[in-house]
């Protein structure tokens, strides 16, 4: 693998960026500490150091990572299910106008209903447990991946398909060798959106109807009025959200290097 064009930042430039990042965040922490000092109410607004303390404690007895692992596991399962359902369906809809005409109206009725709006009904069907967040996340990730797949298949260069057909290549080979590789970049972009949406949905689903996970932990510590712990878990939600996005972006670069615009 040759180094890709996208990341031609020199090392000094990069460490300079890290310094600026640290400077901004230090200013932020200082303002926060001042406001906390002035509020003088550790339940309402604990100081950044208290939160850091709580976070290290939670990290040391692994609770932080346990709950994060549970949420992350649910997301991996949900995204896999959503891909297994949405990608073949999207391929079929993108390839066949007729199939699209039959299926599309039904999906268009469901699409504007956000995953979160399914929570009460799903709570009644599945009860509190693993099934509820997985269902909500799968639903939330399904539509962006489906829409992205359909659009990706439609945008495949017709001429490539025509050439292959002229050469007498069977339909299945055309799909696996031409349509899917050509559609892959937009598909991975759609996956990125799906991951982001399902991560938002998991927090809501766990907050309301799960016995474990990051969303549950945030709510649990709020009821105990343990604000430093609440903030630690909120920060963890952000960190995992960021890492998930970074992973999908890495997949993008790794598997579709030809589609990366040089920046």
């Amino acid at each position: 693998m040759s180094p890709h064009v996208g990341g031609t930042r020199t090392l000094p430039g990069r460490s300079w960026g890290a310094l600026v990042y640290l400077r901004t965040m230090l200013v932020f922490a200082a303002v926060w500490a001042l406001v906390a000092q002035w509020t003088d109410n550790p339940i309402l607004l604990p100081s950044p150091l208290t939160v850091l303390d709580a976070a290290t404690d939670l990290a040391r007895d692994l609770e932080l990572f346990e709950q994060a692992g549970i949420s992350l596991g649910r997301m991996v399962v949900s995204i896999s299910i959503a891909c297994l359902l949405a990608v073949p369906l999207g391929l079929a809809m993108g390839l066949s106008r007729r199939f699209d005409r039959i299926v599309d109206p039904t999906l268009e009725v469901l699409r504007p209903i956000s995953g979160i709006a399914w929570i009460p009904l799903a709570l009644f069907i599945f009860g509190i447990g693993n099934a509820l967040p997985v269902f909500i996340m799968t639903y939330a990730a399904f539509f962006p991946i489906l829409v992205g797949t359909v659009a990706a298949v439609r945008s495949v260069d017709r001429r490539l398909v025509d050439v292959a057909r002229t050469m007498g290549i069977p339909q299945r080979t055309i799909v696996t060798r031409i349509v899917i590789p050509a559609a892959l970049p937009s598909l991975l972009v759609a996956l990125r959106l799906g991951v982001a949406l399902s991560w938002t949905a998991v927090v809501a689903a766990e907050l309301i109807g799960a016995p474990s996970g990051l969303g549950y932990a945030v709510e649990w510590y709020r009821e105990l009025l343990a604000t430093p712990q609440v903030m630690s878990f909120i920060a963890m939600i952000g960190v995992i959200g960021y890492l998930c996005d970074a992973t999908v972006r890495w997949l993008n670069r790794r598997f579709t290097p030809w589609a990366q615009s040089p920046r």
């Binding site: 600026v20 965040m25 309402l44 106008r97 039959i102 009725v109 399914w118 927090v203 309301i208």
Partner: protein
């Protein structure tokens, strides 16, 4: 080489009726199956329509939707007032971007609904907490798109403005903002969708966690139907209403954009 038969088949496939086949079949199957093997609580299409008629006639559903919409607009406006000028500044000035971008990138991956416990702690379980959640959710798509819009100004135009001796404010007003508008429009649409999702989540969670304390709104209404009166038909009516409002909001914004900046809509 299309034969007459092919053409006729093609015409048949392109009629709107084809699109209705599957939904109608599904609804009939649902009704038949639910009526024959379901419990009395099983929601059925016919009962959903009845429930919808009752809820609309009594004014409960429109009132709840209006309350939620009011909160969404409040939060949306708050976010727009903060995010768009800030985003334009960040897109225009490298220094502003370098110093403020870390904050945006740090808080952006935190799902808005995760902030809810803090919002309840600081603002209570009423309207202000819900508005804050919407504002937080809407802030990030708005600022990211405003930055992108201000960055993609044609440099020739900027140089021309500099050559003509325009000062900074005039350049921003006459060059940067018009060029950034299409991107800002995209941000507005995304933010509206995100905000509407966030309000449903916030009201649901407040309903679930604040002991059903009446804060109103469509999300709260759904939670009451789930937890207290167990009326699945009505929950489904609420879900359909949520979807319909989401669709209408998006269409409305798109129509407004087409009218206000026709050059921006593909």
């Amino acid at each position: 080489m299309t034969t007459v038969l092919d053409a006729r088949a093609e015409r048949w496939w392109s009629t709107a009726g084809v699109g209705l086949l599957l939904p109608v079949a599904l609804l009939i199957a649902w009704q038949a199956l639910g009526a024959s093997v379901g419990t009395p609580r099983t929601p059925l299409p016919v009962n959903i329509v009845k429930a919808a008629a009752v809820m609309i006639a009594s004014g409960d559903l429109p009132a709840a939707l209006l309350q939620s919409l009011g909160r969404v607009f409040g939060g949306f406006l708050l976010a727009a007032i903060l995010a768009i000028p800030l985003g334009l500044l960040m897109g225009y000035s490298r220094a502003a971007e370098r110093n403020l971008d870390p904050l945006v990138e740090t808080f952006r991956p935190i799902a808005a609904i995760a902030i809810l416990p803090l919002a309840i702690l600081w603002l209570g379980t009423g309207t202000s907490a819900a508005v804050a959640i919407v504002a937080y959710a809407a802030f990030f798509p708005l600022i990211v798109n405003a930055v992108a819009g201000a960055k993609h100004v044609n440099p020739t135009l900027l140089r021309a403005a500099a050559t003509m001796g325009l000062d900074r404010m005039t350049t921003i007003r006459t060059v940067v903002i018009p060029a950034a508008l299409p991107s800002i429009g995209v941000g507005l649409r995304i933010a509206m969708g995100v905000g509407w999702t966030a309000i449903v989540a916030a009201e649901l969670a407040v309903g679930a966690k604040a002991g059903g304390g009446g804060s109103g709104g469509i999300g709260q209404m759904m939670f009451v139907f789930y937890a207290y009166s167990i009326e699945l038909n009505r929950i489904i009516v609420c879900m359909l209403a949520v979807g319909l409002v989401a669709l209408l909001l998006d269409r409305l914004l798109r129509a407004m954009m087409k009218k206000l900046m026709p050059w921006a809509v593909q």
